[in-house]
């Protein structure tokens, strides 16, 4: 059951496949039969028609078989959908208020946002209300929506399976800016979420976190770069060369860093020492082009042995890689 909610989107797609699959077969049979008959019994080939009035057995077949088919569709679909109407125990509550033309999310502790943040792998129940006209709270990636109707409270449950950023749209016509009533849901690991929930980090922190590695969630838990994710480095340093708040880690492969130290321009080789110093005393030298941006001091979140690990990791995976080439 718990799995079912987590895999809800996948299950919906399966229902879709099932119905479309059967439909496609039926359509194929009908079309082929139709075209074949038109060619085969063309007036030239078949000048005299046979007056067949009907065939009881055939007609019963094509009443009974479709009934059976649609019943399988119904029960399959219903069994999948039931999960989405069942509020799991311990689900987190988020109040959703729709208003022309924006969303307001209120969390259990009273925190209010216009962008939704959710922990991964935890069921959430949305209590959906509207302040003015009908709206519909729609998260396409989760294959689910529920209307926001003034004067009533509707609910919807989801359980995010992956870290990532997903669109939230308004799917019930609500006037002028109906089509602009978009926002996003950011699904983040539980500890990041609670750091945010308890006010330790802000919205942008989570947003950056997600944006930095959309699609790379697996790496986060198990992969090589687990530590970089865990410590939040990827918020600012991408792993693929794309530009972000800080220089991409791939930049380390230059081998030399152009830096500004106490106002002077310098070029120094990237080595174990350089990397370690960048982390433990960020302000000491600043990479050219990033003078305005600042790397925060993260030592309180990094233990010594972790620091060595990080430096090793960066050395072997980014700095060394280039040396080999």
């Amino acid at each position: 059951m718990e799995q079912a909610l987590r895999n809800y989107a996948q299950n919906v797609d399966n229902v879709m496949l099932y119905i479309i699959g059967i439909s496609f077969l039926l359509l194929l049979v009908i079309t082929i039969a139709m075209v074949y008959f038109v060619i085969r019994y063309n007036r030239k080939k078949n000048p005299v028609a046979s007056q067949i009035e009907g065939n009881k057995i055939l007609e019963i077949i094509w009443i009974v078989v479709p009934v059976a088919l649609v019943l399988t569709m119904f029960f399959y679909s219903e069994s999948v959908y039931k999960v989405a109407r069942n509020v799991p125990k311990g689900a987190m509550n988020v109040n959703v208020e729709a208003k022309m033309w924006q969303w307001k999310f209120t969390y259990e502790n009273g925190k209010v946002t216009d962008t939704l943040f959710l922990p991964v792998g935890k069921p959430v129940k949305f209590n959906i209300v509207s302040a003015d006209v009908n709206h519909s709270f729609y998260i396409p990636a989760f294959r689910i929506k529920e209307d926001a109707i003034p004067g009533r409270e509707n609910y919807m449950v989801i359980e995010p399976k992956d870290v990532g950023a997903f669109d939230i749209a308004c799917a019930e016509y609500c006037g002028l800016n109906h089509s602009l009533m978009y926002t996003k849901v950011f699904v983040v690991p539980e500890n990041e979420f609670f750091a945010w929930y308890n006010g330790e980090v802000d919205n942008t922190y989570l947003q950056k976190f997600v944006l930095a590695h959309s699609g790379g969630y697996k790496d986060y838990i198990t992969g090589n770069y687990a530590l970089l994710f865990a410590k939040g480095c990827v918020q600012c340093h991408s792993l693929d060369g794309s530009k972000n708040y800080g220089p991409s880690f791939t930049e380390l492969s230059r081998g030399y860093a152009k830096i500004r130290s106490n106002g002077k321009l310098e070029t120094i080789p990237i080595d174990r020492d350089y990397i370690a110093r960048s982390i433990i005393s960020p302000g000491e030298h600043v990479v050219v082009g990033y003078e305005k941006a600042k790397m925060p001091l993260l030592t309180n979140r990094i233990r010594d042995e972790e620091l060595t690990q990080i430096v090793d990791l960066l050395l072997t995976n980014f700095v060394k890689k280039s040396n080999e080439n």
């Binding site: 078949n46 007056q51 009907g54 055939l58 094509w62 649609v70 109707i149 003034p150």
Partner: protein, 548 residues
């Protein structure tokens, strides 16, 4: 029964003029003339709506503003939907071809209440004018969507009341037509024309007429309540005063779902006429088709809330309505299978009307089958209010009813006007329509499944490619349609004379001259056989058939 002898004794309905000039039309009680009056009115409204659809597709070319602003777009799709539904597709087949051919097919001189029939037409025009006038009033054109959902429809400052009253009047027009047809079928059948000798078009119209009579009043009162709410603030639909928006949705769909069967049933009837004629054989499973019309009318009543699966209805209602929705698909399926079976061992002549019908079967099946996706709870909740729905209903309404409308125009053209259109050109238009149609609307299924909501003036850039394909499709489609219409209009002016039975049909309308005389029948025929008895007909009129 050759043309010449008859026209000597009886004037055709086009030549028979009891009154002077335009009044011969505006005050006519002849069901055939009223049918044509409807056709003309419908043409005008219809092309307005098509133009709007075209502009909407232009707007969809780019994610942001292309040709119109958001407010205009919102009004455009509302008007497009309103006109297409209330002024074109609901009255469509019954009011034009039903009026024209129902009395002839049952062997009657006219409908039961000819003057009421004319009144229906006037109501139709007045209702349409209400909608058109509202465009030019202060406040601007209505922007609620054709569904008028409250509370938006009681909050918006645009002109809502006038179009609503227009829809109310149109509803009455529709009720009166339905009432007229039910009575006609019960009272004016020719001697020997038992219920099971009725042509299937008549069966379909009969079932439709019942829906019109018992479903339309519900939307009538609903609309009135919205008007009263806007004027007097009685609270029934205003959540601020305790009203329940879901009640509105129930009331609206109690009518508007059956209304979709008002749209499709007559079309299905036409299909059951055209296929036997061109296959030269009796329909496969006459009774099953006749009863499935009634079944659709009946079950069609039980499924309305499948438009409300995400509205916050009770779980019980979601369950019940989804189940019932699946069941309503079965009688439609039966019809499709029976039609295809009617082609089996026929002697098929592939003329333009039949080509349109084949196209219909394909497109309607797609539309109907995706209706199953919508009826299923799990998938509906994802695709409701997205372009998937838009694709679905264009497939069934346009690919279904409107395509049959084209087929009917070709099929009955020689009978109605006594002229012939150019067959080659008529056939040439079909591939454009087919390809354009699928490009235009199939893409919308994909868009919808990807999560693009409907009634969106702007959209996320990732949807743009599909929208471009779709818009190009709309150009191809319109090109095909223009060919088709020009061909018909040209046929009207310059076409060669058609004889009384160009296709070799056997229902009663083919037994009288083209165009039909004012009184339809000199002498009411006596019927002693089923409607599609080609065997018998062949023996009686050997020459007639060989000629075509």
């Amino acid at each position: 029964m050759s043309n010449e002898t008859n026209s000597a004794t009886q004037l055709s309905y086009l030549d028979y003029k009891p009154k002077k000039g335009i009044w011969a039309w505006l005050l006519t009680t002849d069901h055939k003339r009223i049918g044509l009056l409807y056709l003309i009115g419908m043409m005008i409204f219809f092309w307005v709506a098509v133009g709007i659809g075209f502009v909407m597709k232009l707007e969809m070319l780019t994610p942001d503003q292309t040709v119109v602003d958001a407010q205009t777009y919102n009004s455009l799709f509302t008007l497009h939907g309103l006109i297409m539904i209330f002024l074109f597709i609901i009255p469509g087949l019954p009011a034009v071809f039903g009026n024209f051919f129902l009395p002839i097919q049952i062997g009657a001189h006219d409908v039961a209440f000819p003057r009421l029939n004319l009144l229906s037409w006037y109501l139709y025009i007045i209702g349409g004018l209400f909608a058109l006038v509202s465009l030019h009033l202060q406040g601007g054109p209505i922007d609620t969507g054709w569904t008028f959902y409250v509370p938006y429809s009681i909050r918006t400052t645009t002109n809502v009341i006038l179009p609503l009253l227009g829809a109310f009047i149109l509803g009455f027009s529709s009720i009166l037509t339905g009432l007229n047809f039910v009575t006609t079928v019960h009272r004016l059948r020719a001697p020997g024309m038992t219920f099971f000798r009725l042509p299937l078009f008549v069966w379909a119209l009969y079932a439709t007429a019942w829906i019109q009579v018992v479903a339309t009043p519900i939307v009538g009162i609903t609309i009135l309540l919205v008007v009263i709410e806007r004027v007097l603030h009685i609270g029934i639909f205003d959540p601020a005063l305790g009203g329940d928006p879901l009640l509105f949705q129930h009331l609206f769909w109690i009518y508007s779902h059956p209304a979709v069967y008002i749209m499709i049933l007559p079309a299905m009837g036409v299909v059951s006429e055209i296929i036997p004629t061109f296959a030269r054989r009796t329909i496969f499973g006459y009774k099953v088709i006749a009863f499935s019309s009634l079944a659709i009318a009946l079950i069609g009543y039980f499924v309305w809330a499948h438009h409300m699966f995400t509205s916050g209805m009770s779980e019980t209602a979601r369950f019940v309505f989804s189940l019932l929705t699946f069941l309503v698909a079965v009688p439609s399926g039966v019809k499709v299978f029976n039609w295809v079976a009617t082609l089996y061992k026929g002697s098929i002549e592939l003329r333009a009307p039949l080509i349109y019908i084949l196209m219909f079967i394909f497109l309607f099946s797609i539309g109907g089958l995706t209706g199953l996706v919508l009826g299923s709870l799990a998938t509906n909740v994802h695709v409701t209010d997205t372009y998937f729905v838009v694709a679905h209903f264009h497939y069934v309404m346009f690919g279904g009813t409107a395509i049959v409308f084209f087929a009917a125009m070709h099929y009955w053209f020689p009978k109605m006007f006594g002229k012939m259109y150019n067959e080659k050109i008529a056939i040439w238009a079909t591939p454009f329509i087919f390809i354009g149609f699928n490009m235009l609307y199939f893409t919308m299924f994909i868009l919808g499944y990807q999560g693009m909501p409907r009634r969106y003036w702007s959209y996320l850039p990732e949807y743009q490619e599909l929208h471009i394909i779709s818009t190009i499709g709309s150009w191809i489609l319109i090109f095909g349609l223009v060919i088709m219409f020009s061909n018909l209009i040209f046929g009207l002016i310059k076409g060669r004379r058609a004889d009384s039975n160009p296709w070799g049909g056997v229902t009663l309308e083919w037994q009288i001259p083209s165009p039909p005389p004012h009184e339809n029948f000199e002498k009411i025929p006596v019927i002693d056989h089923g409607p599609y008895d080609f065997e018998r007909f062949k023996n009686e009129n050997k020459n007639e058939i060989d000629r075509s």
